[in-house]
């Protein structure tokens, strides 16, 4: 598996024109990143992405299954399950909701608009960087910054919503290796740092198969880790699963 993906990535990178890192501006960097991920066409061709795996919480060996599903134009749904209890976060492009049975209730609850922000971001299956202007975002190149020993390109995306995401892009592969999402929640700034890795090419697009998240500047051992075992693209998906369940 690894060799195939590694070769594919290497071959892809070999085709790209060599541009000195210091000469990149924000748009060039985004172009290189989009090409490295598989190209704009391949990204736009994605209809859905369904990843399944497990969630690891630091300091615990809970057995938590995880799946994330994003369907273009329909929404996003993340599920986490253990002991047969299913935790759901979902967004249909308009409303976000959740199911949290940890204290004994399984009925869906609506999320606030602030809580929904990260789901809104995830629902952009292309990547918010692709056609960012058309989406109402703007970008700012912030130079190189260290990510655990890698001098990564730092790119700040000002979202249309007013929030922002800072991306850290590997200077060799042009893949995103970290982002920091900054969101205003109840008027207070919240920052979440996520490291991305183990990219695999699925449906013509490189997809991260690990996502480690925690507070900004937290050590990797302190982050909760999503490890995906499988990824599937463009499969049929019922749009109803994203909508707030109607009580029957």
């Amino acid at each position: 598996m690894f060799n195939r993906f590694a070769l594919a990535a290497a071959a892809l990178l070999a085709l790209l024109p060599a541009i000195p890192a210091h000469a990149l501006d924000a748009d060039q960097l985004i172009t290189r990143h989009i090409e490295a991920r598989g190209g704009a066409e391949a990204l736009r061709a994605l209809k859905s992405l369904h990843r399944k795996g497990h969630l690891i919480i630091p300091g615990a060996n809970f057995d938590i299954s995880a799946s994330t599903l994003v369907v273009r134009g329909s929404g996003v749904r993340a599920e986490f399950a253990f002991q047969g209890l299913n935790f759901i976060n979902a967004f249909d492009g308009k409303d976000a909701w959740k199911v949290d049975p940890s204290e004994g209730r399984k009925d869906p609850e609506r999320m606030s608009a602030d809580e929904a922000k990260s789901l809104l971001l995830q629902s952009d299956i292309d990547s918010p960087l692709l056609d960012y202007r058309g989406k109402g975002h703007s970008v700012e190149y912030l130079g190189l910054d260290d990510v655990d020993g890698t001098p990564a390109h730092k790119l700040r995306l000002h979202l249309k919503s007013g929030d922002e995401v800072v991306y850290y892009i590997d200077p060799d592969t042009f893949m995103i290796i970290r982002d920091v999402q900054k969101q205003l929640v109840r008027g207070a700034e919240q920052e979440t740092e996520t490291d991305y890795g183990e990219y695999e090419k699925i449906g013509g697009v490189f997809v991260p198969m690990t996502e480690d998240s925690g507070p900004k500047n937290s050590d990797s051992s302190q982050k909760q880790q999503l490890v995906f075992d499988t990824a599937e693209v463009n499969m049929a998906a019922d749009p109803a699963q994203f909508a707030f369940p109607v009580r029957k």
Binding site: M1, F2, N3, F5, A6, A9, K52, H54, I56, G59, A60, N61, F62, D63, S65, S67, A81, F82, Q83, G84, L85, N86, P101, S102, E103, G104, R105, K106, L142, D145, D146, D148, G149, T150, V166, D170, D172, T173, M175, I177, G187, A188, D195, G197, E198, Y199, E200, F206, M209, T210, D212, K216, N217, D219, S220, S221, Q225, V227, D229, T230
Partner: protein, 1072 residues
């Protein structure tokens, strides 16, 4: 934390032993060394503390339109901290910058997210750090850009034109230790692209000490110039004495700095006569014709002008106003009330009558205040910073709330004991001497630190001969032996002989003997040795310093205002080291440049300084250390910043000081004057260097060095280093960011040329214990620092040449039989990587119920023994053994542990059986329900189906609690009972109680009965139902199918076990 019981709360111990398999570790390191990326994956944990916190030099804040307060705090040597919630929580936002000393912070009044920071504090005490210019952030501190003034060294104030954000003034006192033309008042009109020096002094030691702008007219500014200089043995504020000429003065410009008028006693009636020392000036924002100035002079005091500076009136000149002017010289006028003035001083004092009278308002604060912010939208809201941290008042400055969340503590030295877990000892600038835990269940809270002594703190040690006692000292060599049982202090400082003066450094060295647990050294100009805990002392040296009388005039020190606090005491012993290889070999370094060695326990001494080639004369010996690996090998660091030389200097000798080699220099990429260099006690090629700008590590005996930046370790002064040799930890004393610990140096010690050349390979870890960790701590709110514990598990170390981006990086654990028992997400960074394995079995399969089974979330910890770690990368596999032992503190043995695990696994298996039964019943019920709804079903068949469904549900409800609704139902069934006893079994790893094993057996019996009843139910009720269904052309219910497919949670279960080879739900018995 609700629903989180003791089993979940357990944190599991220390890392494990990994022998190197993939790469043989041998020999010395590569000559071409390492870089920061290679070593920083070691990580480091900050254990604080914020209990004592540290000196705050600058505060800036703003109440936002939504009522929240944005607060920036500049630590004297610990960076910039930002709070968006008025101080409840802070983020360090300056950690990636090359300096950490802060002198000024100013928020742009017209551009909300623009912040300016001047580096290098202006409170010019002996231990003050240095800056490297002025910085600007346009995103509230997320990113910073150095905007110039690189040689300013320290910046006192920044003022921004409220009508033009591009016009900024920087008040630069400048270099403390040397002449410099880079000081005075600077102005930029282009947002920092270029600067012009708009006001300078008449000599090269006069810089800017005060600045204020008329809010009505930004072209009108007052500035104070200050003549000052510090040397290793003296300080002057103003000239060399109360009558000497000084460059200090008060100046006024009406044209934005183009021209200046000096205001003095001759042209501005009421100002005091020259010479002056330090001064500050402040326009009252609410009434700008009122101007205040605090001026150090022969008659220091506060002065007030009511006519914009034309004439002045002397106001308060009390002791609290004029105390130590070089250290306290800031005025803050309430922005809403021109008569309300704050003067930070030894105590914070305030006036409400325009400075006629002042009262102490500092209440329960630490003292030694340096800045104040008054909320212009609520003047009762006042924030101050002092030598002990940050304090917030909501009643106008009468009572204060301490910010216990700023770990900017300024340690001078650190040591450790041999407790398990060990304690850390250290003394801090103006914050006493402390002992704190290196680890504590729930995290190392501020309260886990114990104050041992008083005053300024320096060397602090546990008494190795009696753990009830500790040694600590205050400034000037005031050493005490503390009985920790009662916190009694006994003064054991050696005393002077007839007509003799002992010269004790501010930071007097104390050293324990590494060869004799009863021996203790302390140095004045003489070296003293005690073998009886300070009951008696022997002088074992002559005066080891230069005894230069020109450097012994501290009673004349201070300039205009005498200041002789022992901070300038000179010609003293500053460092002591007995060789671990030879108790008769003692190395001594002095502050005036002598490196001395005795090889006969003090009978004869040799001054080795002439042998150190290339070292300028009289260089302060900041440390001497004796090699733990070779007698005759020693290291010396030299700190020349008191001469204005900020370069690192360190030498090594391997022949008892006959010859020396410089092993630390700026050409190696090292920044900052050197404080300490220590050789790794387990790897002679590995050296650690602390400088004013961070920690540096060499693996090639000093040929090359790399900065350590792991876990965002900042460029903070590293003053001392200690090794906890049993655990292999490096404990780092920073002067500004508290204590940090690098756990387990094994991986670093194993970095060899072969490792560095490889793509990937395992590195060793210290032997892994299954640490027993109880519950501790309690919610303290968000405004409290919590120090980090060591990794809770077995730590696996490996090296990668480059970051892993594409494809799988697989890390697996194999048991002794070679079976894969766990897989871990791999760390992907360049260089050393660390991954923690919990050493636990998979959690049991637990029947679904209304709520989670708390204990059942986790698996029990596996037995100590031999395991294998396997890393798969790019199609290649690498393996290393992992040997795990019991916690060395455990009061049970391996046989007890086996019984415990067996009992836990019996319960674990029972959970699995229970799950199978519950799933089967749920499946039968679901299939029955499907038939209930079939069309055309006869009443008789419907009744059979109804009965079948009801009975299946009745049985299931005997297994699990099913009442939903989010309440405390108190409903307990088999699963809940089992969870209770399972939790007890996995949370204590000694021999289980007989009653616990009996309880499991009882539950097993109850489950067996349920299984029997279920079988009977199926045997009795299913055939007639299926017969009826067949008669009515409905699909019958297959009992086996129900078992495999029937559960409504089958899909989830399948997902849950999808990564495992065996089927998720087809197994009838517990897999484990």
């Amino acid at each position: 934390m609700s629903g989180f019981n003791r089993a979940q709360g357990r944190r599991i111990g220390l890392p494990g032993a990994l022998a190197v398999l993939a790469i043989a570790a041998a020999g010395s390191a590569a000559a071409d060394g390492i870089d920061a990326a290679t070593i920083s994956g070691l990580g480091a944990r900050n254990i604080g503390s914020a209990q004592m916190s540290g000196r705050i030099a600058a505060i800036a804040a703003r109440q936002e339109s939504d009522g929240k307060v944005t607060l920036f705090v500049g630590a004297a040597s610990g960076g910039v901290w930002r709070s968006y919630d008025g101080g409840t929580t802070f983020q360090p936002v300056f950690d990636k910058q090359p300096v950490q000393s802060i002198g000024a912070i100013t928020l742009d009044p017209s551009t909300a997210k623009t912040v300016w920071v001047g580096t290098g504090e202006s409170w010019t005490r002996n231990s003050a750090s240095v800056g490297n210019g002025i910085y600007r952030s346009t995103d509230s501190g997320d990113t910073w850009q150095n905007m110039g003034l690189p040689n300013s060294e320290r910046i006192n104030a920044i003022v921004i034109d409220p009508k033009d954000s591009n016009t900024v003034y920087a008040c630069v006192p400048g270099a403390l230790w040397s002449d410099s033309a880079d000081r005075g008042l600077y102005k930029t009109s282009d947002g920092g692209k270029s600067w012009s020096q708009v006001l300078k002094g008449t000599n090269l030691s006069t810089g800017c000490s005060g600045l204020t702008m008329d809010p009505r007219n930004p072209q009108r500014l007052f500035a104070g110039l200050w003549d000052f200089r510090r040397k290793g043995w003296s300080f002057r504020s103003g000239g060399d004495g109360p009558k000497a000429t000084s460059g200090s003065g008060l100046f006024l410009t009406e044209d934005g700095g183009k021209t200046w008028k000096q205001l003095d006693a001759k042209n501005s009636a009421g100002l005091p006569p020259a010479p002056w020392g330090r001064l500050d000036v402040e326009i009252a924002p609410s009434s700008p014709d009122i101007v205040y100035a605090v001026i150090e002079g022969v008659k220091s005091g506060l002065f007030r002008s009511a006519d914009g500076g034309k004439t002045w009136e002397a106001r308060d000149a009390s002791q609290r106003m004029v105390w130590r002017p070089f250290y306290f010289s800031k005025l803050i006028v309430d922005p809403t009330n021109a008569e309300r003035i704050f003067k930070p001083n030894l105590r914070l004092i305030a006036s409400e009558d325009g400075g006629k009278s002042f009262a102490v308002i500092s209440g329960g604060t630490h003292g030694d205040h340096h800045d104040v912010w008054v909320n212009p939208k609520n003047p009762k809201h006042v924030i101050t910073g002092d030598d002990g941290g940050l304090w917030i008042s909501h009643d106008g400055g009468n009572k204060w709330w301490k910010a216990n969340n700023l770990p900017v503590s300024q340690f001078y030295h650190v040591s450790v004991d041999d407790k398990d877990p060990y304690q850390v000892y250290g003394g801090l600038q103006d914050n006493s001497s402390w002992a704190g835990d290196s680890s504590y269940p729930g995290g190392i809270s501020n309260s886990r630190w114990e104050n041992l002594y008083g005053g300024d703190g320096f060397y602090t040690f546990a008494d190795p001969s009696d753990s009830n006692f500790a040694y600590a000292e205050a400034q000037g060599g005031h050493i005490g032996r503390i009985d920790r049982r009662m916190m009694l202090q006994r003064d054991i400082q050696p005393t002077a002989n007839y007509k003799e003066k002992l010269r004790w450094n501010w930071n007097t060295p104390i050293a324990l003997s590494p060869t004799n647990r009863n021996s203790l050294y302390i140095g004045s100009q003489f070296l003293f040795l005690s073998h009886d805990h300070g009951q008696s002392w022997a002088r074992i040296s002559p005066d080891l310093t230069t005894n230069d009388p020109n450097k012994q005039k501290q009673e004349e020190s201070g300039g205009i205002t005498v200041d002789n606090s022992s901070a300038e005491m000179h010609t003293t012993i500053y460092s002591i080291a007995e060789s671990p290889r030879d108790e008769k070999q003692i190395w001594v370094g002095t502050d005036d440049g002598n490196v001395q060695l005795t090889r006969d326990g003090g009978t004869h001494w040799s001054n080795l300084t002439p042998n150190i080639k290339g070292l300028p004369a009289a260089s302060w010996v900041s440390s001497v250390t004796a090699s733990p690996s070779a007698a005759g090998t020693g290291y010396a660091t030299f700190d020349r910043h008191t001469y204005g030389d900020m370069d690192p200097w360190a030498y090594r000798t391997t022949d008892y000081g006959k010859t020396w080699t410089r092993i630390v220099a700026p050409t190696q990429g090292i920044r900052g004057y050197a404080h300490i260099l220590r050789e790794d006690p387990a790897a002679a090629n590995v050296l650690y260097l602390g400088t004013e700008f961070g920690l540096w590590i060499s693996i090639d005996s000093g040929a090359s060095w790399a900065a350590f930046t792991g876990s965002n370790f900042p460029a903070v002064a590293v003053r001392d280093l200690a090794f906890q040799q049993r655990d292999g930890d490096l404990v780092i004393a920073t002067h500004g960011r508290g204590i940090w610990i690098i756990d387990d140096l094994s991986a670093l010690r194993a970095l060899t040329p072969a490792v560095l050349a490889s793509e990937v390979g395992f590195l060793p870890s210290r032997p892994a214990q299954q640490r027993l960790d109880g519950n501790g701590g309690w919610p303290e709110g968000d405004a409290s620092f919590l120090g980090e514990n060591p990794a809770p598990g077995a730590v696996i170390n490996y090296y990668q040449k480059t970051r892993h981006v594409f494809g799988r990086l697989k890390l697996e654990i194999l048991d002794a039989s070679g079976k894969v028992i766990d897989s871990l997400p791999a760390s992907k960074r360049k260089g050393i990587n660390r991954v923690v394995w919990s050493m636990q079995a998979s959690p049991p399969r637990v029947p679904t119920a209304a709520q989670p089974a708390n204990a059942g979330r986790q698996g029990p910890r596996l037995l100590p023994g031999d395991y294998t770690v396997r890393l798969t990368k790019a199609g290649k596999q690498y393996e290393a053994p992992l040997h795990i032992t019991l916690d060395r503190r455990a009061n049970f043995n391996i046989e007890d542990r086996k019984l415990q695990l067996a009992a836990a696994m019996r319960a674990h298996a029972l959970f699995g059986r229970m799950t199978d039964l519950a799933d089967r019943l749920a499946g039968l019920k679901a299939m029955g329900e499907a038939r209930q709804g079939a069309s055309g079903l006869s009443k008789g068949t419907q009744a059979l189906a109804d009965k079948f469904v009801t009975q299946a549900d009745v049985l299931r409800k005997e297994i699990v609690a099913t009442k939903e609704g989010g309440a405390i139902t108190g409903e307990e069934r088999l699963r809940e009972h089992l969870d209770e006893v399972y939790g007890a079994l996995i949370s204590y790893e000694g021999r289980p109680g007989n009653y616990q094993e009996a309880r499991v057996a009882a539950l097993e019996r109850e489950l067996g009965e349920l299984e029997t009843r279920t079988k009977a139910f199926i045997d009795k009720d299913l055939p007639p139902l299926n017969d009826a269904l067949k008669r009515e052309h409905q699909e019958p219910i297959a009992a086996l199918a129900a078992q495999q497919l029937g559960s409504q949670y089958a899909a989830i279960e399948a997902l849950r076990h999808s990564r495992e080879a065996d089927s998720a739900v087809a197994v009838a018995t517990e897999r484990d």
